[in-house]
């Protein structure tokens, strides 16, 4: 997991073994000199669409999705708390499913579409406002995970019951004990969404 401890791997041309510093340079070389397109993707290169933006990057096999999104892409809304898949702080929405970024290997996420709390806030999702209004946080560390999970729920079920909200948020832990506020905030956001939709 230590970054920088390894020398940057050389990008070798598969046809003439010329070496390049970056993958982009190698790609330009192969396309211009060898006239082949597309270039076979070297091992460890993945493309992630995070909040609508495509990122192409080289990952090590042991890097988790959390490490890539938080440490490499700099999206701090994905939080690390337990690192064992037990708390929900690192929740992201991957292809419509709320999943845990700490228990996913980045190398297995090639081509996936991911949404984080940042993307939900940028899209001005009513969850953010209703979470503020209902004061659904104390220290706020778990909040992005809760909001991301709630967003995934509302995408599938625009009119959930209190029980369904509690069930869906069952995998998110909050050490400040803000649990009673979450169903209120989520249900209000759901109502706002429905009203917006019917306009």
């Amino acid at each position: 997991m230590k970054e920088g401890s390894k020398a940057t791997p050389l990008n070798l041309c598969p046809y003439c073994t010329a070496a390049f510093d970056t993958f982009e340079e190698l790609k330009t070389h192969v396309v211009s000199v060898h006239k082949t397109e597309p270039l076979p993707k070297p091992a460890g290169w993945i493309a992630l669409t995070v909040n609508g933006q495509v990122h192409e990057l080289k990952v090590e096999p042991e890097w988790t999705l959390y490490q890539v999104i938080h440490d490499r892409l700099g999206l701090m809304g994905v939080k690390m708390f337990c690192d064992r898949g037990a708390c929900g702080s690192c929740t992201v929405i991957m292809d419509g499913r709320p999943i845990l970024a700490c228990m996913s290997l980045a190398i297995e996420c090639d081509g996936k579409h991911i949404q984080t709390a940042e993307g939900i806030a940028e899209a001005k999702h009513p969850l953010v406002e209703s979470y503020i209004k209902h004061h659904t946080m104390q220290c706020g560390y778990c909040t992005p995970g809760f909001i991301t999970t709630a967003k995934a729920l509302l995408d599938r079920n625009p009119d959930p019951t209190v029980e369904e909200v509690m069930e869906a948020l069952g995998g998110n832990l909050c050490r400040c004990g803000t649990y009673p506020q979450h169903p209120k905030a989520v249900l209000e956001a759901a109502q706002t969404l429905r009203e917006e939709g019917s306009k």
């Binding site: 096999p61 929900g88 499913r97 999943i99 845990l100 228990m103 996913s104 999970t149 069952g170 995998g171």
Partner: protein, 332 residues
């Protein structure tokens, strides 16, 4: 995590050939929710040299009914099974077991094949950095036998190994009660016969063999199945005891019953005494209670897990009662 070689397999044959090359030094990864935790904690005496990702194999994620059976691909996520109208309609035990397993996020990641093949949760075994090199890791002794054993087996240890760690799966008893079969890359066997206690293993699978699908026979019309679970928390928790039952009745009397407990023994525990007791009897409070009593009559609890005997008895009772034709949905 330390590094390892990583393969995104495209076919089952490719997985098998990679596993042959690496033998015990490679692990298969599907949902990854069990394996990555083990690797992060440096739990295993030997850190895997390679991981073979099977999520990249197309066509192993499906739920469909076919010739009087329900076919489920090994990579089908637990959440998808729990939400499937087909499963919820006729295979209630499986729908309920997948709904009650782990947490919502883990169910979105974890697969049915992975849930069946998951490793034990004994806290000596799971202690980080291989602090307790116990029997299941090829070491000399079981630390739970005379230690903290409140979540361990109440029906004795595996004879050969002396290991008291229980099998923690929620879906295993449901599949066994429903008389399901498991298909692997080289054979088909009853789910009941899949489990075996070996060093570093919970199943009979060879090191180059993977689970590919499940086949559940469609229950006859007058048959009901149920799953009940007792855990300290409603979500993100392993069972203290769980129990699944499938009971066929005719004219108010039981004609056939399959009852399976889990988390009480080193393997899923077929409650044959309850099945025998219920044969020919009507399903009612008194009979269900007596069936539960029969099951735990030969329990041999350890120093700290006597309470599990009572819970196992009640779980059997509730699972049976939930199979009444007019039964309200089971609580817990």
């Amino acid at each position: 995590m330390r590094t390892f070689a990583h393969f995104n397999a495209r076919t089952v044959d490719e997985v098998v050939s990679i596993l042959r090359r690496y033998g015990e030094r490679a692990h298969v990864i599907a949902g990854g929710t069990d394996l990555l935790g083990k690797m992060k904690d440096e739990l295993l005496p030997k850190y895997p040299e390679a991981l073979v990702n099977i999520k990249s194999i197309p066509g192993l994620e499906y739920i469909r009914e076919d010739h009087g059976t329900l076919q489920i691909g090994a990579l089908t996520r637990l959440e998808d099974i729990a939400a499937d109208p087909l499963v919820r309609g006729k295979y209630n035990a499986l729908a309920e077991a997948t709904r009650r397993a782990a947490s919502p996020h883990l169910r979105e990641m974890g697969t049915l094949g992975g849930n069946i093949c998951q490793d034990i949760r004994c806290w000596y075994y799971r202690h980080p950095d291989n602090r307790f090199p116990c029997l299941r890791k090829g070491g000399g002794r079981c630390y739970a036998m005379n230690g903290e054993n409140r979540y361990h087996s109440i029906f004795g240890a595996n004879v050969e190994q002396g290991c008291y760690a229980v099998h923690p799966s929620d879906t295993a008893p449901a599949l066994i009660a429903l008389n399901a079969k498991v298909k692997t890359s080289r054979r088909t066997l009853a789910v009941e016969d899949l489990f075996e206690v070996r060093v570093g293993k919970t199943t009979v699978l060879d090191s180059d063999e993977i689970v590919t699908a499940f086949e559940v026979p469609t229950p006859a019309k007058a048959t009901k199945s149920s799953f009940v679970k007792f855990a300290l928390r409603k979500t993100i928790d392993f069972p203290i005891v769980n129990c699944a039952a499938m009971i066929a009745s005719e004219g108010g009397r039981v004609t056939a019953a399959r009852v399976c407990l889990n988390a009480v023994y080193v393997k899923p525990y077929r409650a044959t005494k309850a099945e025998e007791f219920m044969a020919g009897q009507p399903i009612n409070e008194a009979n269900a209670e007596a069936a539960g009593d029969a099951v735990v009559s030969d329990a041999k609890p350890l120093q700290h897990n006597g309470y599990m005997v009572q819970i196992a008895k009640v779980m059997v009772k509730r699972a049976i009662l939930a199979c009444r034709s007019e039964a309200p949905p089971a609580q817990t």
